[in-house]
Structure formats: structure tokens, C-alpha cells
């Protein structure tokens, strides 16, 4: 039986509505989901208003120089391998389960932890900070300018494996 194009179109619309609604509901239930009924806030704005965010790159450099904080790179691991803030450990947001057990032994809840990602327009540093908070690390800060700013300033960086 041949199907008229009008029918094809209507069926496609029915599918879109049903699957779309399922997607909206799934996201409301899923912990990492987006809320369709809230307006999207750009990463820069979210990061800027986060109380854990440290804005000044000089302040970050001072903390780094003091050696009293652990730096956590939340970018994809291949970016970490290319280059990262010297001494930083990788905890890619897309591979949390894989990397967290490897770096847990290096972390101490008493330490200050600084997370960073690409720059001001990425949120993985914030998500990883949330994750570390939930794992029982109270002193987590986010480096607002991220790798982009560190690199522009030509501050110490290294490439290659961490472990």
C-alpha cells in the first residue's frame, strides 16, 4: 500500500510530539538533565555568579605558586595530554567514573582544589566542582578564565600523561 506524503508528514509530527514530550520528562527526572521550563543561562554568566569562582588569574597564579592547592583539569583527556597547567591532575567531566578512582588517592579533603576547563564559556569545571563537593571535598574553587587565560599569560604548563 502506498502512503500519501500528507500521511507521512502527520505521522512524523505525531512521532516528534510523543518523543519530544518523553525527552522533556526524561530531562526533568534525570539528575544531569536540563529543565525545559527554565531559560538557559549562558556558561559565562553562571560561572561568574558562582560563589566558588575565582576571577583573578593573578590570584590563581599566587595560589599555584604557594603549592597549597591541587589543580584539577576537567577538559577532555586528549586536551589535557596536549597541554595543561603544570602539576594539574586530569578529571575529565565525560570520564568521571574512570578518572575519579585514579586521583582520589592524591586528594585530601583538607586541600583547596581548583578546577578549570577551556575558558569562561565552558561549564565542565563547575560540574566537576559540584561533583567533588558531593564526594566530600568542601574547599573547591573554580578558575574562571580557565586554560585559555592561563595559556595567554604564558604561565607554566606541561603536556603528557599524569600517572
Amino acid at each position: 500500500m502506498e502512503e500519501r506524503f500528507g500521511k507521512v508528514f502527520i505521522k512524523a509530527m505525531i512521532m516528534t510530539v510523543i518523543i519530544g514530550s518523553a525527552g522533556i520528562v526524561f530531562n526533568l527526572v534525570y539528575g544531569e538533565g536540563v529543565n525545559t521550563f527554565k531559560i538557559f543561562t549562558p556558561p559565562g554568566e553562571l560561572l561568574r555568579s558562582d560563589p566558588r569562582t575565582i576571577h583573578s588569574v593573578e590570584e590563581i597564579k599566587t595560589i599555584w605558586g604557594s603549592g597549597k592547592a591541587i589543580f584539577i583539569d576537567s577538559r577532555p583527556y586528549k586536551d589535557y595530554l596536549k597541554s595543561h597547567i603544570s602539576g594539574a591532575f586530569p578529571l575529565p567531566y565525560d570520564q568521571l567514573d574512570e578518572f575519579y578512582p585514579r586521583i582520589i588517592r592524591l586528594l585530601d579533603p583538607g586541600y583547596q582544589i581548583i578546577t578549570y576547563c577551556d575558558g569562561a564559556e565552558c561549564l565542565s569545571s563547575m560540574h566537576v566542582a559540584d561533583y567533588l563537593n558531593r564526594q566530600g571535598f568542601p574547599r573547591v574553587n573554580i578558575f574562571f578564565g580557565g586554560w585559555e587565560l592561563w595559556d595567554i599569560k604564558n604561565y607554566p604548563s606541561t603536556g603528557g600523561e599524569a600517572f
Binding site: M1, E2, E3, V8, F9, K11, A12, M15, T16, I19, G20, A22, G23, I24, F26, N27, Y30, E32, G33, V34, N35, T36, K38, I39, F40, T41, P42, P43, R75, P76, K78, D79, P92, Y93, D94, D118, E121, C122, L123, S124, H127
Partner: protein
């Protein structure tokens, strides 16, 4: 001159008649290269391959977006096309649509409608990518994984155009074979 053109017209007529006769003798089918291509394009096996190509690509592309909707929302935001109130909606709806329509097109359920949805999505991607390439905005693709830094580019556009062609060919097949649609129609 006039006579000549009349003559040439006359000369053409019987020729086309003979071709018609040949065609009729060959089981009412037209001969020639385009016809062969058409035959292959709408053969059951080739259509199935097209469906696996289109559906498989979309299923593979959807998985990372379904598990990381927030990062996908960031990717959509970075394309700087959708207004803020629609970004979260798109991030919630699109990945599941890609996954389910990808599955239904492979198993052949509502094949043409699934292809219509996937072709529509591909068309949106093509528009979004070319728009940002024209205005020189280098955004993260967010095609297969939402977090990696792979940027949009010409090869991506070519891949999407191939997907679109596959989708259109599937929509044009009015009687989908080798799938659930066929079985369902038989039982009716």
C-alpha cells in the same frame, strides 16, 4: 531553411517511434543509465543500507547527548542561533528524537516518517553549520560527543549532505521493503 527544419522534424519523429517500440518490447521498461541507478537506489537491499547508514549515524550521535544534556545545551548555545528560551527545549528534545527515529528507521517502522524527521534534523544541522561558517564563527561541532573540541568544517557539511541525500531517497520509496512497515501492511 524552413524546409530543412520541417524535414529534420520529420526525420526525428520516426526515430522516437522506434525507440518507443523497443521500450515496449523490453517489458514496458525504459532502458538507460538513469533507470539503472533508479532501480538500484530503490532496491530493497540498497534502501536497507541507506536506513542503516542514516539511522546508525543518528543513534551513535545521540548517546553522548542523552547522557550529557547540559553540555549539549552549551553546544547549542555556542552556535548562537537559537534564542535563550529555546536552548533547553532543543537540548531535551533533539537527542531522544535522534535515538528513537534512528531505531525506527532501521527496523523499518514508519520508515518514511522517521526519515522525514531525520532529514529535517540534518537540514537544520546543514543550515546551522553553513551559517556559522559563513559568518566565520568557529564553534564546537557537538556532533558525536558534546565535550570534545572538534570544530565545524567543510567535511562535516559533506557528511550531512550525504545523510540528507540518503534521507530523501528513503522518503521517496513509497513502499518500504525489508522492515516492519512491510510486515504490518501484509497483516492488514
Amino acid at each position: 531553411m524552413k524546409e530543412q527544419s520541417i524535414n529534420s522534424r520529420k526525420a526525428i519523429k520516426p526515430r522516437s517511434n522506434t525507440i518507443n517500440k523497443v521500450e515496449k518490447s523490453a517489458g514496458k521498461e525504459k532502458a538507460g543509465f538513469p533507470v539503472l541507478i533508479k532501480k538500484i537506489a530503490f532496491s530493497g537491499i540498497f534502501q536497507l543500507l541507506l536506513r542503516i547508514f542514516l539511522g546508525g549515524t543518528f543513534i551513535a550521535a545521540s548517546l553522548d547527548k542523552i547522557t550529557h544534556p547540559r553540555l549539549f545545551a552549551e553546544v547549542i548555545f555556542n552556535y548562537q542561533i537559537l534564542p535563550f528560551p529555546l536552548v533547553n527545549l532543543a537540548a531535551a528534545v533533539m537527542p531522544l528524537l535522534e535515538l528513537i527515529a534512528g531505531i525506527t528507521i532501521i527496523i523499518g517502522f514508519w520508515t518514511r516518517s522517521s526519515s522525514f524527521i531525520l532529514s529535517g534534523l540534518t537540514l537544520i544541522f546543514i543550515a546551522a553549520i553553513s551559517f556559522n561558517m559563513i559568518r566565520g564563527l568557529e564553534v564546537n561541532c557537538g556532533c558525536f560527543d558534546v565535550i570534545s573540541g572538534s570544530k565545524i568544517g567543510a567535511e562535516l557539511l559533506i557528511r550531512d549532505i550525504l545523510l540528507l541525500i540518503a534521507g530523501i531517497l528513503i522518503i521517496l520509496e513509497k513502499k518500504p521493503k525489508l522492515g516492519l512497515d512491510r510486515l504490518l501492511n501484509k497483516t492488514k
